[in-house]
């Protein structure tokens, strides 16, 4: 059980603020040797952007699809505003899947009308167009959109029913940095309208920028959950010193902190910056290309699992 759920049960957090709860979810795909989701629990509060982080294959998408009602777990349950998910949840939720095609030969306008026709309550087309900035290509064939435009259309489709909860599954994968930042702006806009957003991503920067709260998932389980800064403070009390491996020298004395090698770079995680730099200099390392940076969620994942997030 997560701390969050425990606090809900003890009354520290009023249950009414919870929009979605996953309770002890378990799902194993046929023929698999391990559970894709293995007793996972989490709670999402209203109006926040909740990030589900983890490497590929960690069980993020399976978890989020169970929470969307697309997949049925082997055991466990998902609750929406205190009640088990029912058919009406589809009217209250909006989903942007990780991989999905759009009906061919339809323009963006026709797609929005099509999906709008499937819901009892919809946002006016003009509002949707303005919100997701679709005006430039509203009458373009959906097959002729760029990656960024396509993601904006998929987001608009997810918002067409003016949902309470918006699921965004790896929404910026494959986008260039500019398109990614534009998309972040849209997510912030959605949040400002009071929507609850459940985002999965393996971009730590994205999670840090957008999420009020994150759950780090590994092997189908939540291994850490909380506000990003709080999590970092809880697990780290220092910084990371980065040095190209070619510039690094090992001295006779051990360095203060934890030393790891990552992608040709030596990283020293330490709370004693001055002592660490002095030790490196004494060992003969060149500090011409040294970097000192704050600890990130990526570091946290490494710390918790001993593995890279993007492995």
């Amino acid at each position: 059980m997560t701390d969050e759920l425990a606090r809900v049960k003890t009354g520290t957090i009023p249950p009414v603020t919870l929009v979605l709860e996953a309770r002890e979810l378990v799902l194993r795909y046929p023929g698999a040797s391990a559970n894709a989701v293995d007793g996972l629990s989490l709670a999402v509060r209203e109006g926040l952007c909740f990030g589900l982080l983890g490497p590929n294959g960690a069980g993020k998408t399976t978890t989020v699809e169970i929470m969307e009602g697309i997949k049925t777990p082997d055991s466990g349950a998902v609750h929406y505003r205190g009640a088990p998910l029912g058919p009406d949840f589809r009217e209250r939720s909006g989903i942007q899947f990780q991989e999905t095609a759009l009906q061919e030969k339809l323009t963006v306008r026709e797609l929005l009308k099509l999906f709008g026709s499937l819901y009892p309550r919809t946002l006016p087309l003009e509002e949707l167009v303005k919100l997701c900035d679709l005006g430039e290509f509203l009458d373009r064939d959906s097959e002729k959109l760029s990656g960024g435009q396509r993601q904006r259309v998929l987001l608009a489709i997810a918002l067409v029913n003016d949902p309470d909860v918006v699921f965004l599954d790896e929404p910026t994968t494959g986008l260039d940095p500019q398109a990614r930042r534009n998309f972040w702006g849209l997510v912030r806009l959605i949040k400002s309208r009071g929507k609850t957003v459940l985002l999965t991503t393996h971009y730590m920067e994205e999670a840090y920028e957008l999420c009020d709260e994150v759950a780090i998932v590994d092997r189908g389980r939540v291994i850490a959950q909380g506000e990003p800064d709080t999590l970092l403070k809880k697990h780290f009390d220092g910084v990371t010193i980065e040095l190209p491996k070619a510039d690094f020298r090992a001295g006779a004395k051990p360095l203060p902190g934890k030393l790891v090698e990552r992608d040709g770079t030596m990283e020293l995680m330490t709370s004693e910056v001055d002592a660490a730099l002095a030790a490196l200099t004494a060992a003969g390392a060149s500090l011409a290309r040294v970097k000192v940076r704050a600890r990130t969620l990526e570091d946290l994942f490494l710390e918790l699992t001993g593995r890279e997030l993007r492995e």
Partner: protein, 337 residues
């Protein structure tokens, strides 16, 4: 919010998709027209070398000299009215009734009938002088016979591949998963697919049939309404079969294999190109398991024999039953993912 509104939205979207796919649209229209005109051209003028002589009774009872004449093919009939109907539509060249004297009927408008009569009168059947009768009627050409099969075959390919393949593609690329996340129900989605394809099937049927009729002037003996009803029911049955194939398949290769496995035997055994009347009984019974056999048999009976709906009701009942079974199993086993 009505189910009809959702169904209509998906129906319209599917129609847009198809109509804007110029290649598929052209193929669906041009292919059957090419085949109809190609076959009409290839078999124009009748290149059959053999005279078909209907025999009202036993062939063994014919005068031996006439019966031994080369290049005559004798077709026995039990029913004189049926034999005369065949003669009226040039499906046989002469009708002979053994006796002393022999009786025979000729279609005055048939050139081959004239020659067959000359042959008859040049043999031992001429003595004592035979009794001559006449019928009149326009020729049922091969193309009049063939068009029922070609229309059925085109409908089969369009129904099976247009629905079956499209749904599997939707499933594979995630379109179905996206729709599953909306309030759209499976039955609404499937109904929209069926209706959209039915509109296309019947539009293509009308264009191909009436378009080619302008040039080929089909000799249709039954009612046009009956023909439409048969193809509508046949279309529903074949589309339902396409849905059944697509209900769970997740790969286009598997779906394509299954669809080919069904469509090729139907193309050759359902009587599109040639009649199975003279084929071994087990083969004819096997062909009856295919819906296309019943579509073509019923349509051809209306087209070339003037059959009424009640006369082809057996075929219609089988098609209706197959449709219900295919739709029930297809809907029950349908999976979005």
């Amino acid at each position: 919010m009505s189910s009809a509104k959702r169904l209509w939205a998906v129906f319209v979207a599917r129609n847009y998709e198809f109509l804007r796919d110029r290649g598929a649209l052209a193929w669906n229209l041009m292919f059957p027209l090419f085949v109809v005109f190609g076959m009409a051209f290839a078999f124009n003028g009748g290149n059959q070398e053999v005279f078909k002589i209907g025999v009202d009774g036993s062939v063994a009872a014919l005068p031996p000299g006439f019966a031994a004449t080369k290049y005559l093919k004798f077709v026995p009939f039990d029913d004189e009215a049926q034999a005369q109907a065949r003669l009226r539509h040039h499906q046989i060249d002469l009708l002979v009734k053994p006796g002393n004297p022999v009786s025979y009927w000729i279609n005055e408008t048939s050139p081959k009938g004239y020659l067959a009569e000359r042959i008859l009168l040049g043999t031992d059947a001429a003595t004592p002088a035979p009794v001559r009768g006449e019928v009149t009627g326009r020729e049922i050409r091969y193309v009049d016979w063939l068009v029922s099969g070609l229309l059925g075959m085109n409908m089969m390919f369009s129904a099976l591949f247009g629905v079956g393949y499209a749904i599997v593609r939707y499933r594979k690329n995630g379109v179905l998963k996206r729709l599953k996340a909306t309030p759209l129900k499976a039955v609404e989605f499937l109904t929209a697919q069926v209706l959209s394809r039915m509109v296309l099937l019947m539009a293509v049927f009308a264009i191909v049939y009436h378009g080619s009729d302008l040039f080929l002037h089909y000799e249709r003996l039954g009612s046009l309404a009956s023909l439409y009803l048969i193809y509508t029911l046949g279309g529903f049955c074949l589309v339902s079969l396409g849905l059944l194939i697509a209900a769970r398949a997740t790969s286009e290769e598997l779906a394509g294999g299954l669809l080919n496995l069904l469509s090729w035997p139907m193309m050759f055994l359902s009587g599109v190109w040639f009649s199975l009347e003279g084929a071994p009984r087990p083969l004819r019974l096997f062909a009856d398991i295919f819906p296309l056999t019943h579509v073509i048999d019923a349509a051809r009976a209306v087209m070339t024999e003037g059959a009424t709906l009640s006369q082809v009701s057996g075929h219609l009942a089988i098609l209706a039953a197959m449709t219900v079974v295919f739709l029930a199993i297809g809907s029950w086993s349908f999976r979005w993912e």
